[in-house]
Structures are given as C-alpha cells and as structure tokens.
Symmetry: C2
C-alpha cells in the first residue's frame, strides 16, 4: 500500500514558508519538496480551502501562511487534507451478516479506534510553532557542528 505523505509534505512546505520572507511559488516549494509544482498546488489548495494559507496569482504571487503558527495543529492540517484514512489495515467487510465476522470486526475496530484517538490527540497537541522551535534548535546545533 502506498502511503499518503501529504501531511508530511504540507508540514515541510509550511515550515519553509514560515522561514521565508514573502510568498513562495509552487515551483519554489516543489524544489524544496522534490516534487512537481502541480502536486504542490493540488495539496496546498486544500489548505487554502481551510483558510490556513492564501495564494496570489501573477507577478510576485505565490503562497503565504494566513494563520497564526501557534494555533495551527497537526490535527487541523490532517482535517484540512480531508481526514485521509490513517490505517493501512482494516476489516475485510465493514457490514457483514456473518456473526463471526461481526465479532472479529468489533474487536479490531475497538483497538483501531483507541489508537486513532491517541494519534489525533497527539496531533492536536503539536502546533506549527512547536515544529518551528524544534527546527530552530536543530539549525543551531547544525551551525555549532560546522565549526
């Protein structure tokens, strides 16, 4: 199963935007992410619809963050992306007639629901500002190591 890496992508893009003065074009972001500008527009477009970023066309256009970094959590970004499926494992049949399969589904669903709740709770607890701080720490450590 191919994994959905859009959450990772938009975080990467947003932090680059946060470190950058002025708007960044899809092409510039595509270079940072190692992907195509159209893929950037497609994914960032979902964040635009959620009001997290704004896009401007034409000369000096591009993408900029239109929200407070301290208030945007990973969970909000996950939601902005349309809450894609979290698990690569699932039930064979979600609405079985077979009582055996119903018992199996109930047990698996329960475990997955707990894990999902924990994951979303952790996502909600991390903001873009937290990531920016972590990046700054790594950057300082990297600069120190260059000496």
């Amino acid at each position: 199963m191919k994994r959905d890496s859009r959450l990772s992508s938009v975080l990467h893009a947003l932090l680059h935007m946060a470190e950058h003065d002025g708007p960044m074009t899809s092409e510039a972001l595509g270079l940072c992410l190692g992907t195509n500008p159209v893929v950037v527009r497609r994914t960032m477009g979902l964040l635009r619809e959620a009001g997290l970023v704004a896009a401007a066309r034409g000369h000096a256009g591009g993408w900029r963050i239109s929200a407070d970094l301290t208030t945007v959590s990973l969970r909000q970004l996950h939601e902005a992306l349309g809450e894609p499926a979290i698990f690569a494992i699932g039930n064979r049949n979600e609405t079985p007639d077979c009582l055996v399969e119903q018992a199996v589904n109930a047990a698996l669903d329960h475990a997955f629901e707990e894990a999902e709740a924990l994951l979303l709770e952790r996502f909600a607890a991390v903001s873009l500002a937290d990531l920016a701080v972590d990046f700054a720490r790594r950057h300082a450590a990297w600069r120190a190591a260059q000496e």
Copy 2:
C-alpha cells in the same frame, strides 16, 4: 490506498475453524470469507509457518488450529502475517538531508510510534478465545431474537 485485510480474514477463518469439527478445506474457508481458495492457502500458509495452524493434503485434508486458543493473541497473528505496515500515512522521505524535514519527521514519527505501541498492546491483550466468547454471546443473542 487499498487496505490490508488479512488480519481480519485470518481471524474470521480461525473462528470458523474453532466452531467446526475436523479440518476445513481452503475451498470451504474461501466460501466463508467470500474469496478464492488460493488466497486462503496463501494467507493461512503464513500462519502455518508460525506454527499456529496445520494443513493436511488429500482426502479429509484441510486446515486445523494447532495452538491453544487462549494463548494466541491478535498480536501474534499480526506478527505471523509478517507485521505489515499499520499506517496509511507516512513521511515523504525517511532520511532527509533537509533540517526542516527532519523536524517534521521527528514530530510525526513520535506520534505514530505512540499510536502503534498502543495498538500492539491492545492486540496483545485479545486472544482467539476472547473472540470465541464474544461470538458465542452474539450467537446466543441472535437465537433469542429469532423467537
């Protein structure tokens, strides 16, 4: 992304086997699961390698459980299936040079590791015997509802 439903499948198969006297053929299990006998053999073969089931060829052959239902947990089954990837969401690049992406990966990895640990813990706490009990309960309720 297409979800891996093998854990769900083998649980369904194992509970039918537990309710059934004597070995069950791949064809019979395929009918229970709504799939092809070859798919059953392919998947059950992994459980055979883990020593959880045994297969006999020829007349009166088929699959039977070769372990104590109370000692086989969902986690053991997950392991027998080769510990397939749990999440449908992941990092774009697992070993990035970019410090921004490293910070992003660290945050996501941390959240996913916690959720994975919880899920596996829950899997470890549920045995086939537990599922058999739940099935029996559902079956009794169903019979009562038929009157």
